[in-house]
Subunit: 340 residues, 2 copies
């Protein structure tokens, strides 16, 4: 046969089509960074159940609401919450204007890099840090400061931007759910105005789908220019029992799927699971000290102060059929850079 | 020529295509219930400016945020706010369990249909009514009560459901903006959980795009069943300076277009107008006593207590280039039933 033979052309064409199909299948493969374990299977089966119009558990697209915790679920939270690292850097930057901080806790601990003393200042101390570092400026100024910090700060162990400390399998999960007409929300104990400057670029989640903790703001007109000033006063704590409250307040619908990693997510998963029909509840368990971190205290892992996963949560997960994602066994890669 | 002549067939086909195109043009005609005035022109010109990629005022789809007040802007608010009519009906329904209300204001006024006495109880009295009629039950129970009331209650003058008291031109405006990839939000002083049960069906706006006033809720587990209980405590008042605060809190982006009708919307329009680039701010002015209601006190219309439009707002609108929609002159029809 000559190269111009119609038959050869046809075979050639088929081969090209097959090659294209195979390469596109590979590119589109959902959840590529997940190992083929029961956990991945549970995700795929749930999505098939709620998206197949012929099945009794079918859910209309507008009701496919999925909520994700952020710290420890979508990005890392060790050696400390990213927002605390930001608050510490901010306190250091503001210190020259506050000579009294040299002798006053918790500021003294921050300026002397004394983490045990900082931890000893407790929740009250951390709240004081957040107020000082997050309030007293306009929302526009705060957004600019956060964006600048996210661009310049680096994670102490991995030496990368914090926005690169996201979990590749969870990014794929977000994309997979959205490809199946889910609307994905963040529901985090973190500050909503700390997260919003990066969620669209990093997670594909727009600001209006980010629920978080907040301080109060006040509308003011200065020199004819309207602005919102950030006040040193707590507005809402989106953690623990605050998560169902925040979901109801901001979303107004019960999620059919939710994803967390710590005791702060327990009530969100309870609330999600208490609805009718098919539900998917999952907890990321950080059991991979080599590639990321390992902490509990569930299953005898170290009890750290950030993202506590108590044994009682593990027991409730087992009892209620919540899936526990083992970072070590269920994930092929952890960070986006590893997957490339 | 015979009917089977190719040329005739072609002409036939063209005619059919033209007929279809024309009918579909008519069906798709945006803003059909708006008269061809400068107001309608301002809407169309704004949308063309921000959606044309070749123009300097182009806005990416994800930033096309439009916010709408509800009472008096999307649906009527006379002879009283719909939610107040609901609260009154609810107080009457609860009265048998509260014999003390017969002698206690503002309940006495409600039970005796004594509107002047009710008005005299002021904001404090109205708040007490709302608390009693909206709190002490779960969010699920409240939603069921609202849905039932919206189905059965009728407007005293028009004898229709309150959900039929929407403004047809504004429904078309919502649809027109969404067809141009705007994301439409309600930002109302009304209760968010009073609006959410109907916004999807009535306005095509899902619950998560409804911002409103709220009372606090609390997460409780009763007999193993998680629920959110509604507390008799104000959480957030989404009115006046509260509107930019609510927009920042719930949406996290500044709108490029906003629509209101009263002094409660002034700061929302200021906040919208203070952003860069093309902006559209509009106020519905109720100047049509015949087809709906006429109230101000701007332009010498009666000063009623619901949806006050003061002269100072009219002056600010004129000064800042906010468009005032004259219900009488700009709208061909008012309610959906009139347009059919």
């Amino acid at each position: 046969m000559t190269p111009t033979s119609p038959k050869l052309c046809f075979i050639h064409a088929i081969a090209i089509v097959l090659a294209l199909a195979s390469s596109s299948l590979h590119a589109d493969e959902p959840l590529a960074s997940w190992n083929d374990t029961a956990t991945k299977q549970a995700i795929v089966e749930f999505v098939e159940r709620v998206t197949n119009n012929d099945l009794p558990d079918y859910v209309a697209p507008e009701d496919r609401i999925a909520t994700f915790d952020n710290d420890g679920t979508l990005w890392g939270e060790h050696p400390m919450y990213t927002q605390l690292a930001f608050a510490i850097d901010r306190v250091k930057a503001l210190a020259p204007q506050h000579p009294e901080w040299k002798t006053k806790q918790p500021f003294k601990a921050v300026l002397e890099n004394d983490l045990p003393a900082l931890a000893a200042s407790g929740e009250k101390g951390l709240l004081e840090l957040v107020m000082v570092s997050h309030a007293g400026i306009s929302t526009a100024e705060f957004e600019a400061i956060v964006k600048d910090w996210l661009e310049t700060a680096r994670h102490p162990r991995f030496k990368k931007r914090y926005t690169e400390m996201t979990f590749q399998p969870m990014l794929e999960l977000l994309a997979y759910l959205r490809a199946n007409d889910f609307k994905t929300f963040i529901v985090s104990g973190g500050g909503v105005e700390f997260m919003r400057p990066m969620t669209q670029a990093v997670y594909g989640i727009p600001p209006e789908q980010v629920v978080g903790s907040s301080i109060k703001t006040q509308y003011e007109v200065k020199d004819g220019k309207p602005m919102l000033m950030r006040l040193a006063e707590i507005d809402f704590i989106d953690d623990k029992t605050g998560k169902p409250v925040g979901i109801n307040k901001f979303i107004g619908k019960r999620p059919i799927a939710s994803f967390g990693n710590s005791a702060g997510d327990r009530e969100m998963l309870q609330w999600t699971g208490a609805g009718d029909g098919a539900r998917l509840m999952m907890l990321v368990f950080h059991d991979d000290a080599e590639r990321e971190y390992a902490y509990g205290p569930a299953d005898g892992l170290p009890d750290t102060k950030f993202g506590t996963f108590p044994q009682s949560l593990m027991d409730e997960a087992n009892e209620k059929g919540w899936h526990v994602i083992s970072m070590k066994n269920d994930w092929k890669s952890i960070h986006p850079a590893d997957a490339e």
